[in-house]
Symmetry: C2
Subunit: 279 residues, 2 copies
């Protein structure tokens, strides 16, 4: 049985710490993240991630159409002895809740830790997505979801401002960030590692690029998507030339727009790779 | 020269009307929308849409790194005589601004009006995207952008809760909603019209569907994307069977996720169609 307590004060140190977990630097320092709502928590549990703190609010949970407190109690009693279960009044729960209409249950969970060792060897011809300079957590989560759907082995976030355990990234990933390795690195480190590991770098660019349907994505493939406004730095283009990858572009047939958003470009390139790999 | 005035009151009726244009029902009633910021306004002008009211705030515009008032003055003096140009103090401009850090310029513009007549004849083998039951304006805008990039002739929004002239939809479309015909209809009307016009309906579903890379998207193609949670209604699947279209699915190779988000699915299907049409 886990430890159980009631917290009634908005200024309780645990409450303050949960609120701070909305910030990337606190998540990184503590190696924790928050999963809110029964669907997200269930996904995290299914991924084998252990709950260390569970906060619930019977007042909110017992509202019509919400999950019942009994289910949460079953989840709570199944937690290990060193976990913490805390019951909160609605006013305190709303303080830690990230969503506007909280369901009444929130968990604090250790982040899975991944490293370059989680990238499969080039000899197995893996598929990998590299997102460069991504600024919006919702976009990052959406791309991790798409990468998972395409059968990618990992996502490298190079020079990212956001992390995959931002609450919005978790939500738009529909849980993919719980299981798909995501590796944060500087752009220089990412280029260096991918090259050393033997990946072919496919840099999405308009500079001297070939149509994405004309390149071979069946080898050890790193698809690199840059920031929409400025595009990829020259170092990525040079890496594409050097690694037997290619500079690729998605041909446009538009009347107005001159580019795709990063998540759409990732989806198109990843599923072109998937099409080639499974035909 | 357009009429020019200073508005200083937060309760000015014009100010109130601009604020109301954030709501779909007011946009629809008045046939107007708001474009905020010089980039969006420039795109609307490039699309041939006439500005009827231009609101600007020298205080905000003259901040470092912002567009200068002189450029706005040139735009303003080029407007026709029946347009209105109003200068606002920052407090009043912030009330009409939609974005958090307003640039200091906002235009009221008549919505382009499209109808089923804007859908090309089936004989020309057009490509068309149909989004069903879409709830998030950002998603709708992103899909209109992707459809434009893929060379689609139009987007049909069937049973949509949001409209393409929602400020968030305009923003994520990067101006595609200014030029690509978007036609709102009930689901029943959309099925009826597309069928009558001779389109082949390709319904995205998991029910008795074939992989998207195995179907022929080169004819008169309507790609139909349903709501993520509930999927497409049976009427769409029946329409696919009846119109020489297909029920299509995008094969998943995931470890965790069981679906793609609607915008990613639209991108993958539209660009598979584009691949087939331009090889």
């Amino acid at each position: 049985m886990p430890r159980s307590l009631h917290i009634t004060s908005l200024t309780n140190p645990r409450i303050k710490q949960v609120v701070r977990l909305r910030e990337q630097r606190h998540r990184r320092k503590l190696g924790l993240f928050i999963a809110e709502g029964s669907r997200e928590i269930t996904r995290a549990c299914a991924a084998g991630l252990p709950i260390v703190e569970l906060y619930h609010c019977p007042e909110l949970l017992d509202q019509p159409g919400r999950h019942d407190s009994a289910a949460i109690n079953r989840l709570a009693t199944g937690l290990p002895a060193d976990a913490l279960v805390a019951e909160l009044p609605a006013a305190v729960f709303r303080k830690i809740a990230y969503v506007r209409e909280p369901e009444g249950v929130l968990a604090v969970i250790p982040q899975p830790t991944w490293s370059w060792d989680d990238l499969p060897a080039a000899a197995t011809s893996p598929l990998c997505l590299v997102t460069v300079g991504i600024e919006k957590p919702g976009n990052l989560g959406a791309m991790v979801r798409t990468a998972d759907a395409a059968g990618a082995a990992a996502v490298v976030t190079a020079g990212a401002v956001v992390d995959p355990f931002n609450p919005n990234a978790i939500r738009t990933s529909t849980g993919a960030v719980f299981t798909l390795p995501t590796i944060a690195a500087s752009e220089a480190e990412a280029i260096d590692r991918l090259t050393t590991l033997g990946y072919r770098i496919f840099a999405s660019t308009l500079q001297q690029a070939v149509p994405h349907t004309d390149v071979d994505f069946t080898g050890p493939t790193a698809i690199v998507i840059g920031p929409e406004d400025v595009g990829l730095a020259d170092a990525w283009l040079a890496a594409a030339d050097r690694t037997a990858g290619r500079r690729v572009h998605i041909p446009m047939h538009s009347r107005t727009v001159d580019s795709l958003n990063a998540a759409a470009a990732a989806a198109i390139l990843l599923f072109e790779a998937t099409r080639q790999r499974h035909r």
